[in-house]
Amino acid sequence: MAGPDPSVAAAKRAGEPVLSVRTLAKAYDAGTSREKLAIAEVSFDVARGEFVCVVGPSGAGKTTLLRCLSGLLGPTSGEVRFEGTPLRAVPDRLSVVFQDYSRSLFPWLTVNRNVAVPLRVAGVGKQQREARIQEVLHAVRLGDVGRSYPWQLSGGMQQRVAIARALAQQPDMLLMDEPFASVDAQTRFDLEDLILEVRRELDITVVLVTHDIDEAVYLADRIVVLTGAPSRVQEIVDVPLERPRTQLGTRSSEAFGRLRRHLMELVTTSS
């Protein structure tokens, strides 16, 4: 399977966005003396099938933004629409991969049982459930680890389990909060390629938050660059690099270098 046809992608982008963020602002402890504005004003759209990265310096409010996008946190003002309707709770066709896999995977459940959680909730029968578990573990290239506990696995493998569990929900859209921030460089490259493959095979929309510019350029169709806290959109950068991308080929291309340089300028001038 080749990458998405650019003309199809363009047609999709012309249609209604899956996710639409309008003048979103978020203050913690609003109305108290400890009030802290984390997001000042953020607006952007995500089209169906698109891969959007959000980059911003540490403490910019990326996690806050992602929790607002997922419906885990209500905005102070502004609006987030998912498939046309304003978010009230976490929508059914949306799944989240958190930064800290060691806390988001349930340590009291084996890998199989962790992945089974959303399937049980959805009322999937035992046989189908086992088939689905095998399927998603295979999709994230995990071999025979189903009977292990997550904490018996390496960090990279744990994050694969977290991704598998998110995929088991059969989401239309996947939100990821710095998913590869705490693994080594090689594992990080592997996981980046993994998520690109999964996204192509399953045709899902991805919004990934990161502070790593190279990662954003390598993965994204578009990059939303945030300023430091309280965050605003500094610029939305198109990434017209061809797909499929390869770590060596893409990263050493001239276009990659240009984009990277442009983003570096944005980020360094903002702080």
Binding site: S70, V96, F106, T110, V117, V121
Partner: protein
Amino acid sequence: MSADSGRVGARWSSIAARTAVVVAVLAGWEYLSASGSLDASSFPSMTDTMAELARQLVSADLWTALWHTVRGWATGLAIGASLAVLVGTLLGLNRFAYLSVIPVVEFLKTVPVIAILPLAIVVWGATLQMKVFLVAFGVFWPLTIQVIYGVRAVDPVVRDTAVVLRLRGVRRFVGVTLPSAAPFIATGLRVAAAVGLILTIIAELIGGAKGLGLSILTTVNAGPQRLPATYALILVTGVAGVVVTSAFARLERRVLHWHESQRNLAPTGV
């Protein structure tokens, strides 16, 4: 292989070291009474005590007393712990209820159980009920607090994950809240079990309910020639305490084998 045999070796040498310490203490005891440093009228020799213990171990009286003690302890613990888990969970899950009730719980926790012992004796007399009430009461308050904190201590990332996975109601409670609270509850239970045993013995000693505590009192009242029996019974209560504590520690290790504090200590049972 070599690591395993190393671990087995370490285990044997720790058992050997502990045995040596026990033997040394017993020998020291014997030496002190033989040399006359310990007054024979209040402190019998180790050999006399052990001989009496051996006699007791084959007599029905000891086992009946032990049975009464264990029954009172287990019933009181079961009642107190079940109520604590129930009440603690309800208070932990409901912030309003928690804020309203917590001052009372904190206060009652600090009331020494001994202070209500006379009341319990007046109401129930020297009975099993009196003992069970005392144990259940003494175990309930601290364990309730432990359960409340456990239920409220769900990690924020775990909480977000539960929402994203659409875990709700009973499924969420059993699948997320209880396992998160389990380490707190287990610690609370282990302490409660030991405290419960102490309260049982006190209820028997002071309240006069049948059991090891009453047997100790009876031998004391029987005069100096029964002194070895007193010490033998005290040893039995000590052993009971050790058995209870280590049994709960083992249980904790099994049930919480996934928890950070227990990892790689026990077979996973998978």
